[in-house]
């Protein structure tokens, strides 16, 4: 019943991707490959094109040049629904919907698979139940989403994305507005699902420490270009902090886990400030 083709593995290939708004180029030629089952963290300053790259990868924006290939298929050739059957994207935030229950919101994730008329009938309860169980929100199924706390709501929205039942999961700053405990909760859930299902995950993170802890690979963007791309051990360096994130600092190791830990010190003057 899975609408994705049997060869659907979850490979994302991005080739020479350019995108811009009038007078401002956001992405100026990005190339990257994400292997099936890989967890990649996108890092960079505000406005460096991270969210735009995710939207382009989900097929929500049309590139000015270049291509996004999903298991070899160009996203530009897919309809909105066909794209949503293969890639799920969790946006940073969503407006409140008065009266909508957790169960109802998660069910909306089935739209791509079932279509406008298919959604009129009940069904797909198993997929939704699994998605809710995956992020442990089953207990609140009949509560209004608005009545939940920020962390709980974020998990519900993750369940909605999981209900799309895709191989590729894109997350745009899934930990924004959450306290540390809930940040770790969401990230651990994502890591566990990746391990259990072999999902391909590409997520924008602001916290380099989280990226180093959870990602297989870190991709750093600066001014619409890939500035660094590699495993956390190689990429997270004082040089990356300075060049990509614009802060001076030191990098150490977690005494137990061994992953890189950043000790940011102070912001560096931005290059354009130097020009002025």
């Amino acid at each position: 019943m899975t609408p994705t083709a049997p060869r659907a593995q979850g490979t994302v290939q991005i080739r020479g991707l350019r995108f811009g708004y009038p007078g401002r180029e956001v992405l100026s030629g990005v190339d990257m490959d994400v292997e099936p089952g890989e967890l990649v963290a996108l890092v960079g300053l505000n406005g460096c094109g991270k969210s735009t790259l995710l939207r382009l990868s989900a097929g929500l924006l049309r590139p000015a040049a270049g291509r996004v290939l999903l298991d070899g298929d160009d996203m530009a050739g897919l309809s909105r629904r066909a794209a949503a059957r293969r890639v799920a994207l969790l946006h940073q935030s969503a407006p409140p919907v008065p009266g909508m229950t957790v169960r109802q919101l998660v069910r909306q994730g089935r739209y791509a698979a079932r279509g406008p008329l298919g959604m009129l009938r009940d069904g797909d309860d198993a997929v939704c139940a699994r998605a809710m169980a995956d992020v442990d929100v089953t207990a609140w199924a009949d509560r209004p989403v608005d009545s939940l706390s920020g962390g709980e709501r974020q998990r519900v929205r993750l369940a909605m994305a999981l209900a799309q039942d895709t191989r590729v999961l894109l997350l745009d700053e899934p930990t924004t507005y959450l306290d540390l405990r809930h940040q770790l909760e969401v990230l651990q859930t994502v890591a566990r699902l990746r391990a259990e299902r072999g999902l391909t995950v590409l997520m924008v993170l602001h916290d380099l420490g989280h990226a180093a802890r959870f990602a297989d690979r870190i991709l750093a963007l600066r001014d619409g270009r890939v500035a660094a791309d590699g495993p956390p051990d190689e990429v997270v360096t004082p040089g990356l902090l300075a060049e990509v994130l614009g802060v001076a600092g030191r990098v150490g190791r977690d005494p137990v886990g061994g992953w890189p830990v950043c000790y940011p010190d102070h912001p560096l003057p931005a290059p354009q400030d130097l020009v002025k």
Partner: protein
């Protein structure tokens, strides 16, 4: 919450919805009966006798050819407006949207009045009025779309432009009335909204039109539910937001045009019924849409019965036999009060 109480809650929700629907259907029936009974010429006992197959020819004519079609027209027009408002508020994600304030109703009135004034249409050619009202409704909505421009996503800005567009269209309607006063009496009914003198031809015109567009609207329940979750979330879930919104607007304009062409601009129905429907039935448009249709029918038909009762009372008090309060006056007055309550509640929510 334990598993058992949870399962019980899951079972209770649909049962509560079913009970609500039964209640709404009974209310619609009651409103229909009230509209049948209301009026001066024939007391309730006479109506009952006609419905049982008896009565003299005059009574039969009053009930079967005057009151019955009028009540049915009120029910269907109310359902159309309730649906149109719900669709607009969902598609534009704007609780201040309604056919009255997005240029749709004033546009439809302008279309109907202009066509009548210019002699293309009239009460004798109701089909032409529907077409004219439809064109006007689309023009009104289109004007708002153009004016709002990039600020379309902002509910408050869109509401401001909506008031502007509505004012301009009402002004144009006034101009048409001054230039071509033609069938002025019936035109005034359009401006306020009235079910006075609606007979079988109106019903035969209205119900198929309303049924077709209501079905089309229901087919859009899923994308509309997602549009209420925000454009980004809807698009990520697979909705082509632009197309879904245009399809929804076409349905809303068509439903409004049908209602306006037959009963005129009934104030506030399309703006307020959706608030009631969402408050009672939640966020899934699969249940909210039928609920809004029933609520709209109850409100308009009930207001019609109320207006007739009021006319009777006033006529008695003022000792005049030619006095009739149009249903639009009742919905507008009651609607203004309800709108205040809704606005207060929204402020309290913050």
């Amino acid at each position: 919450m334990t598993g058992a109480t949870q399962a019980a809650a899951a079972r209770r929700a649909p049962r509560r919805t079913a009970r609500l629907f039964v209640l709404l259907a009974l209310l619609a029936l009651a409103a229909g009966c009230a509209a049948l009974v209301a009026g001066r010429a024939l007391p309730a006992s006479g109506v009952w006798e006609v419905l049982r197959g008896g009565g003299d020819p005059t009574s039969r004519h009053i009930v079967l050819n005057l009151r019955l079609p009028r009540a049915l027209v009120a029910l269907v027009a109310g359902a159309s407006l309730g649906l149109a408002g719900t669709v607009l508020q969902s598609a534009l994600r704007n609780p201040l949207a309604g056919p009255e304030v997005t240029g749709v109703t004033p546009g439809a009135v302008l279309g109907a009045v202009a066509a009548t004034g210019l002699g293309f249409a009239g009460w004798h050619s109701p089909a032409a009025v529907v077409v004219a009202a439809g064109l006007g409704g689309f023009a009104g909505a289109g004007l708002l779309w153009l004016l709002a421009g990039r600020e379309r996503g902002d509910p408050a800005q869109t509401a401001v432009y909506g008031v502007l567009v509505s004012a301009v269209l009402s002004g144009l309607t006034a101009v048409v009335l001054l230039v071509a006063p033609g069938e002025l009496g019936s035109v005034v009914q359009w401006l306020v909204g009235s079910t006075e003198g609606r007979v079988w031809p109106h019903w035969r015109l209205l119900w198929p039109w309303a049924a077709v567009w209501a079905a089309a609207t229901y087919a859009l329940a899923a994308p509309l539910t997602l549009l209420r979750c925000g454009d980004e979330q809807a698009a990520a879930a697979g909705v082509h937001t632009g197309r879904a919104r245009i399809a929804a607007l076409v349905c809303a304009v068509a439903l409004t045009a049908g209602a306006v062409s037959v009963v005129g601009a009934l104030g506030f129905v399309g703006l307020l019924v959706p608030h009631l429907a969402f408050a009672l039935l939640g966020a899934d448009l699969r249940t909210v849409l039928p609920g809004a249709a029933l609520l709209g029918a109850v409100v308009v038909c009930g207001a019609d019965a109320g207006a007739q009762g009021l006319s009777q009372g006033l006529a008695h008090a003022l000792d005049s036999d030619r006095l009739s309060v149009p249903v639009g006056a009742v919905t507008t007055c009651a609607g203004a009060v309800l709108l205040l309550i809704v606005a207060r509640r929204r402020v309290d929510d913050r």
